[in-house]
Each structure stands twice: as C-alpha cells, then as structure tokens.
Symmetry: C2
C-alpha cells in the first residue's frame, strides 16, 4: 500500500554496488563463496546506506520467523504480582541475544487457549512457544506435543518427562519449610494450598507430606485447598482456629494466603509469629512490609525467563530433551513470622 519511508532495499543496495542482489545477500550472510574484499565492501556500503533487511521478506524466504509466542493466561496479573514482568524481561533479553522477539498475546473471550496456540502456529507467526502456569493435565502442552511444536514450559505437568521445562523445586521447598518448623518444635502444622489442577500445587502438597513423614509427624494435618487469595487464607485460618485449636503453625502455598491468615489472626487477637507461626511462599513484595515481616520461600524470578529462553534455543538444536529440564532451588527467607510454638502448645 503506502510506501513507508523506511530505508533501502536489497536490490537497491545491490544496484548501488553494481552487484546482484543474490551476491549481496550472500555477502551479508557470510556465505563462503564471496571474496573477502567484496564482502567488506558490501558490509561497509550497507552500513553507509542504512540498509536493514525486511523481516517479512526474510521470513517468507527462510521459513523461520525468529519469534516465540507467549500467550498470557487469563488474569495473570492477579496471581503473583511482579513475577510476569520479571519473567518477560528475562526472556526477552535472552532472546534478543539471538535476535528473536516475543510475540505476546492473550486469549479472547470467544476462543479457547489452545485455539490461540493453534492460530499462532498455523499462521506461522511463531517458531514455537513459552508456556507458563502449567496444570497437571495441561491441554496446551498436550496440543504442542501432539503437533511437534517446539516449546519450553515454565513449570511442569504430569507428562513432564516428554518436553523441556524449567521449574522451581516446589517439593523440596515445602520439605524445607517443614524442616524449619519441625526444628522449631512445631507438631501441628496446617497447610493451605491451591487448587490441585495447577501442578505446582500438587508438588507443594507432596513436599508438605514428605516433610511430615520425614519428621515423624502425624500425617493427618489440616489441609485446605482453594484459590490462592487473601480471602481464602482468611477463611481458612478462621476454620483452623475454631476447629483445630492445637495448630501452632500454618504453611501457606502462597503469600497472599498468608496475608489473609494474618488478618484472621489479628482479628482473633493473636500475633503471627508469636502465637502462631505463619510461613508463605513466593515472596511477593508485600511480604517484607507486613507486620511481622513474613517468612517465606522465594523462588528465583528474574532468571527464570532467561533460562526458559535459553532452553528454547537449545531445544531447536538438541534432540535430547532430558538435558533441557532444569530444576531450581527455592530460597528460604527467614523473617519474623516463624518462631518456636508458645509453651502451651508443647
């Protein structure tokens, strides 16, 4: 349509150099059959004339678009505050090193999540995907696997052995949480977790149970599962206080739950960390500033995007997916919401 005033074309550059566009192309792309002298001449002239190749043309000719799709899960912003930006920033930066970009999109109301993936793939807008917020049985992953579409996921699913992923060690993190609490002397530890379709919820709960047996604690602790929200935490702690009064500590699968627990505790005139220990997960920004500051498990956030990106480009070259699965330790941050149980609990 409109001739955008956007620089010079390969053919024009070639004409200027009195060469063929084919030759110039090969010169620029480092083909070995171009004389060193002419290659240099081409490169210099290209820079002088501000030549940059049209991405569309290049893509059409080569069939690779150097773009990775990332479709935001619905309401991803409500989940873990700044995590996604950090992730995106890390991934974008890593991808930029190999001149790849991220195609960001969301799912519209009238279409399903896999439809978005299918559309992006079928229109050849992307070479593959990064998928986030995985579920145990994840239809996106199943779709990608079935169609042989390259991807790496942040987080695992039930069939995690089949594809590349990066994940925090949710299970170990929860075991460490129990270690911490058990060593302080806690015996009755409640657990407030997320809905179990998210795979990380499953893993965290597994870690919780593993920790229990490791420390010979009663395996029948109060366990709740629901939305990872402040409201649900509030609701759970009320139930705990009324029905399980000997509970001396509660582990929350997410800091927001802990915030709700705090509220319930204060409302019952109980002091988190003194009367009842509270442990969170994720280290959201609020956690450092609540009173008392919340002890929590902090998965590494910024690097995770970069690692996923790195795994993706490796994935395009490697066939051995076993080498493309990375698990990362979760750091325990001790603040002031965990302490030995009060005397009457011992």
């Amino acid at each position: 349509m409109s001739k955008k005033s956007t620089g010079i074309t390969l053919a024009e550059l070639a004409a200027d150099l009195k060469l063929t566009s084919g030759t110039v192309s090969r010169a620029l792309n480092g083909y070995p059959d171009i004389a060193k002298a002419t290659r240099e001449k081409v490169i210099i002239r290209a820079a002088q004339l501000n030549y940059s190749p049209s991405a569309s043309a290049k893509r059409l000719a080569t069939g690779v678009v150097n773009t990775i799709g990332l479709v935001l899960p619905h309401m991803s912003s409500t989940i873990t505050d700044s995590f996604f930006v950090k992730f995106l920033e890390g991934a974008a930066t890593e991808f930029a090193k190999t001149d790849r970009d991220i195609l960001l999109t969301t799912v519209q109301n009238n279409e399903s999540e896999v439809e978005v993936y299918r559309r992006l793939w079928r229109t050849r807008k992307v070479d593959g995907f990064i998928v986030v917020r995985t579920r145990s049985d994840d239809e996106r992953i199943n779709f990608l696997l079935e169609n042989n579409i390259p991807f790496v996921s942040h987080g695992r699913s039930d069939n995690a052995q089949q594809y590349p992923w990066y994940d925090a060690d949710n299970q170990q993190a929860m075991e460490n949480a129990i270690d911490h609490l058990a060593n302080l002397g806690h015996k009755n530890i409640a657990y407030i977790g997320g809905a179990n379709d998210y795979h990380f919820s499953k893993l965290r709960l597994a870690g919780f149970n593993a920790g229990l047996t490791k420390h010979n604690l009663d395996p029948n602790q109060p366990i709740f599962s629901g939305p990872l929200s402040e409201a649900f935490g509030y609701q759970c702690i009320q139930q705990i206080l009324s029905e399980q009064p000997n509970t001396s500590a509660v582990i929350c699968a997410q800091d927001k739950l802990a915030l709700g627990v705090y509220r319930g505790l204060y409302q019952a005139n109980l002091q988190p960390g003194r009367d009842i220990s509270v442990l969170g997960y994720d280290d959201i920004s609020a956690s450092a500033y609540v009173n008392p500051p919340l002890s929590t498990m902090a998965p590494e956030q910024h690097l995770s995007g970069a690692i996923c990106a790195e795994l993706f480009v490796l994935h395009l070259k490697t066939t051995d997916i076993a080498e493309l699965q990375r698990i990362a330790p979760v750091r325990f941050i001790k603040r002031h919401s965990t302490a030995p149980p009060p005397n009457h609990f011992r």
Copy 2:
C-alpha cells in the same frame, strides 16, 4: 529449510477448488468482484481444509504487519509491581480484537533505547509502538515524531500536544491529596518525589504546589526528590524528623517511598497515621497490608493498556491527534495512614 508440517497453502487450496490463487484470495478477503456462490464455496472449503494464510507472506505482500512494538524499559519490573502485566494484558486483549499482536522486547546492554526502536522499525517488524514510562524530554518520542512513526504513549512528555497519549491525571491527584490533608488540618506537609526527568514526577510536584496555593499554605514546604525506593523514603523521613520537626504529614509520590517512611517512623517510635500522616501513590499491592493500611492515590491500571491500544488503532485512521489524548482521574483510597494532626501540631 524444513517443510514444517503446518497446513495447506493458498495455491493448494486454489488447486483443490479448481480456481486461481488470486481468485481465492479475493474471495477470502471480500472483494466485490467474486460471485457470491463461489465465495461461499471457497470459504467452506478453506475451513474444511484448515487453511490459514501465512502471516509472513501476507505481510510481505501488503506491507503491513499488524504488530505493535513495546520495548520494556530497563528494570521495569522493579518500578511498580504488577502494573506492567496488567497493562500488557489490557493492550494485548484490545489489540487481539483487530488481529494485532504485541512484539515485546528489551534493550540490550550494548545498544540504546532508540536504537531498538529504530531497528524494529527499519526491519519492518512493527507498524508502530506503544511507549511507556515517559520522560519530560523523551528521546524515544522525539525519534518517533521525527520519523513519522505511529505510536501512542502511556504518559506524557514536554511536547505532549504533538502525539496521542493516555495518562493519569497526576496533577489533579496531588491537588486532591492536599485537599484531603488540608481539610484534616495539616499545615506543614512534606513532599517526597521522584527524579524530575520522569514527566509524571514533574506533574505530581506541580499538583502539590497547586494544592498548596489553593489552600493558602506556606509554599516553602520540605521537598525531596530521588529514586522512588523504600530506601529513599526512609532516608527522607529521617531528615524530616530531625530538621523539620513541625511537619505533620508527608506525601509520597510512590507507595514504596511511603513504606520507607513507615520504617523511619517506627524506628523513631512514631505511629504513621496517628503521629504523622502519610499518603502514598500508586496503590501497590503491599499498601493495603501494611500497618496501618496506607492511604494512597490509585491510578486505574488494567484499562490503561486497552485504551492505549484502542488509541493506536484509531491513530492509524485519524489525523486529528487532539482527539487521541486521554486523561484519566486518579482515585483516592482512604485507609488509615492519614488523620488529623495531633494536638501539639495545631
């Protein structure tokens, strides 16, 4: 290179229909010179065969890529927790309605911000940009303006009359803040703001001053400017306490500053909201959970991305940019960090 197993091509579809690819293309794109009957036949068959056009080919042929660039400012994650995801989510959703995608990237260490914009434009990867985190004198905006590249910005700059933007009413917000505090009886109000190269900082400070004169307050209030960090807030409040002991309220241009002020206050055995009123800005997620909950100014976040996207597509059709400038009110959230000054201040 590799024939990706990714659907059928226009020519193949045409062959199947015993038509020319040109005809099929026009049928699919609603040209008026195609018989209704054949058009329908084409559409049905296309659906049956799962035809979807190659984005690269389409882009090359039409010259429009239906992609909007958004380059993340460096360390954008550290600034205002979940804002960017909400923004991105809103923008992506709005863009998806017109079948546009967002190209997300960052600036590499070895290149400047405008270089990224230039590269994205020159390689025709995008039709335009959304720019965020504007400065008063913003080289990105200047560059885009000079080169006639379509864009809309979130936030303004000094030359804001020349281009489309969406912005919160920073100035009015601060005037309202003073209204609130002055009505409570405060006379000595300190201001902790950001570095003045960010345009919103300038506007907020302007609002602060406007509020002062409106209420006939001494225009020489303690004013600080620096990074919008907890640490800087902490540092400022200490200085205020020692050098301006009659200060009864402090307005922070960002909630994180307020968090630092809280820390300094507690350390001096002062209670925010009782001994000294504290007012924040942005309503970051921590603000509702600190003790006491922080009163703050809450700009609308989720919609802003969508509006920027909407403005962008309007921008492509409209020449009258005056119609493409939107200002949004900022909501005051009263929590418990503001109260009348203690008696000894009156």
